[in-house]
Amino acid sequence: MKRIALALASTLAFAALIPAAHAVEFTQVQADKSAVNFIYKQMGVAVDGKFKKFSSTLSFDPAKPTAAKASFDVELASVDTGASEGDQEVAGKPWFNTKVFPSAKFVSGSVKALGGNKYEVAGQLTIKGKTQDVVVPATFTQQGNAGVFDGSFTIRRADFSIGEGSWAKFDIVANDVQIRFHITAASK
């Protein structure tokens, strides 16, 4: 009897909480208001580029950030390096090899709330058949009925065999590549 009452009470408590929490869950990613950019150094000079096509699924409830989930699928052939010969080059075998590995994937694991609007998303990044654990810091800001997520993290291209052969040395194109994202997702 006591057990049933407790179960009933907790169910009621949850029933009261859940709808309120779910009311502001951001899930509808708006591609036109989202961007994935990268910055790297070429002979010490910062050069940036972007990926024009990517898809993502996201669910983020500010009341329950640790339950958040995100996954990204970046179409590597949509790379924009700023020069068409650069775009062709990085789609090729020594770089992304997009014929065999058309996309880069990120799947979130655990999410930590760092206080304020700061979060840390641990996840796995897979590029060119190689998977690495990454920790992605991100901020969240609510703009009207949309949630905006911004962040950046740095990967080493050699960890994913991006830029092989004559490009493998880092004297011309540096190993570190910073990935920056800006994701806008509306609430349901």
Partner: protein, 181 residues
Amino acid sequence: MENTHYTATAKLLHWLMAALLFGLLALGFYMHDLPLSPEKLQLYSWHKWAGVSAFLLLAVRLLWRLTHRPPALPLSMPKLMQFAAHAGHLMLYVLMIAIPLSGWLMSSAKGFQTVYFGMLPIPDLLDKNKELGDLLQTVHMSLNLLFVAVLAGHIGAALKHHFIDKDDILTRMAPRHSKEN
């Protein structure tokens, strides 16, 4: 009295510039057609650094030119030829300013900042813009083709003065022509 000699400094600047510009032209035409490789990116950086150097050298040269009057053209030269000589030299100076400027703007528009010797960032005058970058590439190329044509005229005229007119136009720019200055 009209001076009849170039200063040693003017000659040095002329020949330094000549060597640098020939190198820049050759490198520019060569690297342009290379397939993308680390070497190509390296050559582009060197070309940019040499271009900035040429621009700085030109500033020194202009300053020298404005404060040191060059020797007059021979009186035997017809007025029209004298005019052509002055116009040709003016054209060379205009192009020596316009070509590095167009290269600098092109680099800015293409999103590849020029960092002098990898140390000194030259500010980007334009925001990244692919169409503008491609347009400026055409401008840079066209100005250089024009430069090659004017240079051919410059060298051709110098040789004509030396071998046909048999005046001292060519030799007065030669390093050991005069012990003065």
